[in-house]
Amino acid sequence: MTASATRVIAQPKMKKPGLSWPIILIGSILVLVVCMFPFVWMGLSSIKTLKELYSVPPIWWPAVPTFDNYYKVLFESNIPRYFLNSVIISVGSTGLALILAIFASYGFARFDFKGKPYLQAFILVGQLLPTAAIIVPLFITLRVLGLVNTYWGLILVYMIVTLPLSVWMLTSYFRAVPVEVEEAAILDGASRLGVLFRITLPLSLPGLVAVIVYAFVTTWNEFIFALCFATDSSVKTLPIGLAEFSTEFNTDWGAVMAASVVMTVPIALLFLVFQKMFVGGLTAGATKG
């Protein structure tokens, strides 16, 4: 394995045939515009005054850009505290779901056992009931466990929400790893767990990153469970913070938009750093080993 990996690095990489640059350029611009258009509008709204937000006809650029909304969000609201809560809860539930999902996915991807299709379907059962139906019994469950208004309550709930999809996605990524690689390692005397953590997981790193992103983003933005299960400001999350800019008959849209930017940009930046892991670097050599 080492030898072949070195060989790949040593050889000047053969150029893959790719898309021609005009297509890449046009495609990139399209993706950029589609993804950014509403977000730019949100960003512009966050630096407008109240009167400029709703005008007929609409205006693009505020006469005097103001950062009052950001000041309000960062220094005069609960958003910073809720940001911390959201980080704790999202990291906790993502981590927990990931640990369980790695084992379950490996089991589903690599072994054949009785009733597997049924168990795979069972994993999804919780996702098939509408939120409106499970929210009350879930609340009762949390109350019995004493977890209402605690970080752990939301962490567990979000784990149930994200675990099924994480298992399904990881299973498909694990399956893409050639079985031969694992068999070779087992012949060399590696244990099953050793194979999983030293070979399969590193080889599925892009998939793992994708699943982490999924679980994190889902918990980061969830509203209705957080609203019902966290009523104390010590555990409220960011989406609740957004709702707190609304009163009965009015919404401070400038502040909501500023808070949304504050909520969104760090995640995108985090991904900018993480996306470097989106390379199946080992794959080339490994399959030949």
């Binding site: 893959k16 993804c35 369980l100 597997k116 509408p130 939120t131 409106a132 893409a176």
Partner: protein
């Protein structure tokens, strides 16, 4: 031997899910066959929810909504993934930007779109009339022919990044020698897409599609925040109907009955999908 090892891997997740989901499932089932005082009433609740014509309309709308969204989410998501898999300057930044629609909080995204599509305040009508594309503003969200397509477009915008990221992860795991083999045969780029990339990420795409079906069946944020199922139930989907029954009308038992029906239909769809999948090659030995 082997079968037991596999089960051991799977068991922790199954036990945790079972512990937390068993009660809600049983609770919903019980509610669906009882009345407000807890007396058994058989299938009365089911009859009550199936009778109004709005139930049928919601069911048809749900199918329209789910399938309309998924086709575009998968196609656009996969194309974006192929683009983001190329190497070019600024790729990392573009990948991060692609994530934005998905990361923006659902309610805010929905409200922002509703605002941009508004007949009077909306920037979209303003740009289109200003540039001469439209003669006069269109009521995107008030016209019965445009409202559902607009909502589907918003839903596609929100979730195609999810497909793109998932498929991109799959593309990145394709061993180089598969490409090399294709290149020896003198394959063009699009042949490579067709014969190397798509077959390799097929398990990912099938899993993603199933998950999108399930999400689509259970996603109410966008529609509820923008039209609440209106105008005149043109965009009412079954999960919103259940939501209304349970939280607005205090009809807990009828809401549970509708949930059970919904659950039944969904589980049949999922099961057929899994059966078809497991008949395909690509399963591990």
């Amino acid at each position: 031997m082997k079968s037991q090892t596999g089960l051991l891997f799977v068991l922790p997740a199954l036990i945790v899910l079972f512990m937390l989901i068993a009660y809600p499932v049983a609770y919903t089932g019980l509610l669906s066959v009882t009345d407000g005082n807890g007396h058994l009433v058989g299938f009365k609740n089911f009859a009550a929810v199936l009778k109004p014509r709005v139930t049928t309309q919601a069911f048809i709308n749900t199918i329209y909504w789910v399938f309309g969204s998924i086709v575009f989410q998968v196609v656009l998501g996969t194309l974006t993934a192929i683009l983001l898999n190329q190497s070019f300057f600024g790729r990392g930044a573009l990948r991060a930007i692609t994530l934005i629609p998905w990361v923006v909080p659902g309610i805010v995204a929905a409200t922002t779109w509703a605002w941009m599509f508004h007949t009077e305040f909306g920037i979209i009508n303003y740009m289109m009339t200003g540039s001469g594309v439209l003669q006069s503003p269109i009521g995107w969200l008030t016209n019965k022919d445009t409202v559902m397509p607009v909502l589907i477009a918003i839903n596609v915008w929100k979730l195609f990044p999810f497909v793109a990221i998932m498929v991109l992860a799959g593309l990145q795991s394709i061993p180089n020698d598969l490409y090399e083999a294709a290149r020896v045969d003198g394959a063009s780029f699009w042949e490579e897409v067709w014969y190397v990339m798509l077959p390799s990420v097929r398990p990912v795409i099938t899993a993603v599609t199933l998950l999108l079906v399930i999400w689509g069946l259970n996603s109410i944020t966008i529609i509820y925040a923008i039209t609440r199922g209106g105008p005149a139930n043109k965009t009412l989907i079954t999960p919103i109907q259940i939501f209304r029954l349970a939280f607005e009308s205090f009809q807990f038992n009828q809401a549970a009955a509708l949930s059970v029906i919904f659950f039944g239909v969904a589980i049949v769809v999922v099961f057929i999908y899994i059966k078809v999948l497991s008949a395909q090659p690509g399963e591990a030995k």
